[in-house]
């Protein structure tokens, strides 16, 4: 039984919301049913097979081939199974997913992993702004699971993030971890301005020293935190620097802030 494979016929003329695909489990639905799923394309409704060639069998695995940055909400609400995106993903990748895995071979658009509660997203390329962030009005961004970005993340990565782990191999943009509520963000490369602004709690682990932190962060000293060993163990084997952190943990410089908001967040900078 082969995976259900949707091959994008051509770049769609407007953004397409693919959440209907994962609104219910794929398994148990017929290929004909999938082909006939109504999708909104601009101000019209089209059948899914007007945009995609449908092959394979609906089940636990879904492949989207020739994917494009106009395909929004891939894997929204995913509860289990796997989605493999060959190409780029649009905005809201994996929105509110609770389980399963999504891999993207290219880049992901804005708000990937927003409201994510569980499961795993791996993006080989870059992620757009507001990765793992809350959409306006939602009070929590990512709330669980693991996100691993092979490339860079845009601005505001982890804004209002509440739980889970967000790992960015490359660099992160401005205001990383803004208004972060809790959870763990790790960045391998550089970060932009004002990391941790209005952060409440949570951990930002930077493998590369930042150019500066907001004035509402105070230095607390240099420590080998046992907690980091737990993270290292949890991440062991992941591609990139986080999969190879020393098992005994790291020694880090610890900064706490944002003092405007209780100051219980931490930015840890690898020595």
């Amino acid at each position: 039984m082969s995976a259900l494979r949707l091959t994008l016929i051509s770049r769609p003329p407007a953004r397409v919301d693919l959440s209907p695909l994962t609104a219910q489990p794929l398994a148990g639905r017929s290929a004909a049913e999938i082909a006939a799923l109504p999708l909104v394309l601009g101000n019209r409704r089209v059948r899914l097979d007007e945009l995609f060639r449908v092959t394979g069998t609906p089940g636990e695995a879904l492949e989207i081939a020739g994917s494009d940055d106009r395909l929004d909400r891939i894997g929204a609400g995913l509860a289990g199974g796997s989605i493999v995106v060959e190409g780029d993903a649009g905005a809201y990748l994996g929105q509110r997913m609770t389980g399963g895995s999504i891999t993207v071979s290219g880049h992901a658009g804005a708000f990937a992993a927003t409201g994510m509660k569980g499961g795993e997203i791996r993006v080989a390329g870059n992620a757009g702004d507001f990765l793992a962030a809350a959409i306006p009005g939602d009070h929590q961004g990512m709330q669980g699971g693991l996100v691993l970005v092979g490339g860079n993340a845009g601005d505001r990565a982890g804004d209002r993030m509440r739980r889970g782990a967000l790992l960015v191999t490359g660099s992160a943009g401005d205001y990383c971890a803004s208004r972060m509520v809790a959870g763990t963000i790790a960045v391998g490369g550089r970060v932009g301005r004002s990391t941790g602004m209005a952060m409440r709690r949570g951990t930002v682990l930077l493998l590369t020293p930042p150019a500066g932190l907001p004035p509402t962060f105070n230095a607390c000293g240099r420590f080998p935190l046992t907690m980091l060993a737990l993270l290292a163990r949890a991440w062991r084997g992941l591609p990139g620097p986080f999969g190879a952190l020393p098992a005994a943990g790291l020694t880090v410089r610890r900064f706490m802030g944002d003092l405007a908001n209780d100051g219980k967040g931490e930015v840890l900078v690898r020595e």
Binding site: P13, A14, V40, G42, A91, Y175, M197, P215, A260, G263
Partner: protein
């Protein structure tokens, strides 16, 4: 559906549509074709009323046409569009109502020409809220006025005059109101009666300063020696003044926070105000309302529950403050027809784009590139009656024509297009 013309109850006073203060005390005279502000004016009003019509009538691809023909061509373009963008939206309540109706009907997107600035505030409202006040409260109560981002009079020329200018207040005489500028100081010629302080800080880093003041107010240690380019002592002193003011106000004009993610700065400001209100009274004042931005947002909000940047393609409105931004929709080609509405200020031209564009423009507008359809429209409060919301989102003021005009209102032009779309859904 703009309603029957409403006679001005007090013709000596005219209400001005040209900035978000929507002053209702102007004296406008002159000939019907050339109204002039005689009293209670300002440079913005003078410019606004001084805009002289250049267009004779509607055009299709540059060729003169009747309103009906132009509407028919606009309807033809809209019928073929997958994602029409109703942008600009510089119009009155009636125009905004008509735009909402047409966006619903055509499955389009609504955004305003000041959308980027408006969204900075909206994001704060949606994510944390705020404590704010309105102009008359400031006029009577304010004893410390802080302008975050610097002087606002280039955008709102009569701001000081209308707020803290009066000596006589409901609660006794006020010798003066202290004013603190965060950013650039008062424009030349500004006279203020109270103590004036200019803190020439780095405006895009003001969020840091608000954060520092929040930390200090909460009694937390701050080790940094500077924020937003100023020593911490400056902020320590300012927050102490804020804490001890009787009724302090911090105003900002979102367009002045023209840097990425400025909503974080505004939120920091609003949270500082909330913190202050645990023990004292202190308010924010978001300044906007120009070009009908508050109006367009308010109308869309009440009709659909969502304000600007809502899309109707899926049948129900869906707001997306990021994806549905005019600049993005045009840059990516996702919007395939642009309806650009600019009835207040002739210089607010449609963005440079190859997207087919229908302009409902001020009759004085000179477009760089001839749009597919151009319909010159009247200005509310100049050519026809209408309603505009003031900056505070509370007061909607009636506007009355100051000259006789044959120009259609935006509402009328949009209704003509809607009629041309034909019956049924």
């Amino acid at each position: 559906m703009s309603g029957s013309p409403i006679p001005a109850p007090d013709s000596a006073a005219v209400t001005c549509p040209f900035c978000g203060l929507v002053c209702d005390d102007l004296v406008v005279t002159g000939t019907p074709d050339a109204p002039e502000v005689r009293a209670s004016g300002c440079p913005t009003a003078a410019n606004g009323y001084g805009q002289r019509a250049r267009s004779d009538g509607p055009r299709i691809a540059g060729r003169p046409a009747t309103l009906a023909e132009a509407a028919a061509e606009a309807a033809r373009l809209l019928r073929g569009a997958r994602r029409p963008l109703f942008g600009g939206l510089a119009t009155d309540v009636e125009g905004a109502r008509a735009a909402g109706r047409l966006a619903d009907r055509t499955g389009g997107v609504l955004d305003h020409m000041n959308g980027a600035a408006a969204v900075r505030n909206l994001l704060v409202l949606q994510d944390g809220g705020w404590i704010t006040t309105t102009l008359s409260e400031i006029r009577n109560r304010c004893d410390l006025l802080i302008l975050a981002g610097g002087d606002v009079t280039p955008r709102f020329p009569r701001f000081f005059e209308r707020t803290i200018g009066a000596r006589e207040t409901l609660f006794g005489d006020r010798p003066g109101c202290d004013v603190v500028f965060l950013g650039h100081g008062p424009s030349k010629g500004t006279t203020l009666r109270g103590a004036v302080e200019v803190i020439g800080c780095d405006v895009p880093a003001l969020g840091d300063a608000f954060g520092v003041m929040r930390a200090l107010l909460a009694g937390r240690p701050v080790d940094a020696d500077a924020a937003a380019g100023m020593p911490i002592a400056v902020w320590r002193k300012l927050v102490e003044r804020m804490r001890t003011a009787t009724y302090g106000v911090i105003a900002w004009a979102a367009p002045d926070f023209d840097f990425p993610h400025a909503e974080l700065t505004i939120q920091a400001l609003c949270e500082l105000v909330k913190d202050l209100n645990r023990a004292t009274r202190f308010s924010g004042l978001p300044l906007g309302g120009s070009d009908g931005d508050v109006t367009a947002d308010a109308v869309a909000l009440w009709q659909t529950g969502f304000g600007l940047r809502a899309a109707f393609g899926g049948g129900a409105p869906e707001q997306d403050l990021h994806l549905n931004a005019t600049e993005r929709l045009l840059a990516t080609g996702e919007a395939d027809v642009l309806v650009w509405i600019a009835s207040i200020n002739a210089t607010r031209l449609p963005p440079a784009t190859t997207t087919p564009t229908i302009v409902l423009g001020h009759a004085a507008m000179t477009v760089a590139r001839e749009p597919a359809v151009f319909i010159p429209v009247g200005t509310p409060g100049v050519d026809h009656a209408g309603h505009l919301f003031r900056t505070d989102r509370v007061v909607a003021l009636p506007l009355f024509p100051v000259r006789s005009s044959t120009l259609p209102s935006v509402a009328q032009a949009l209704s003509a297009i809607e009629a041309a779309l034909g019956g049924g859904g």
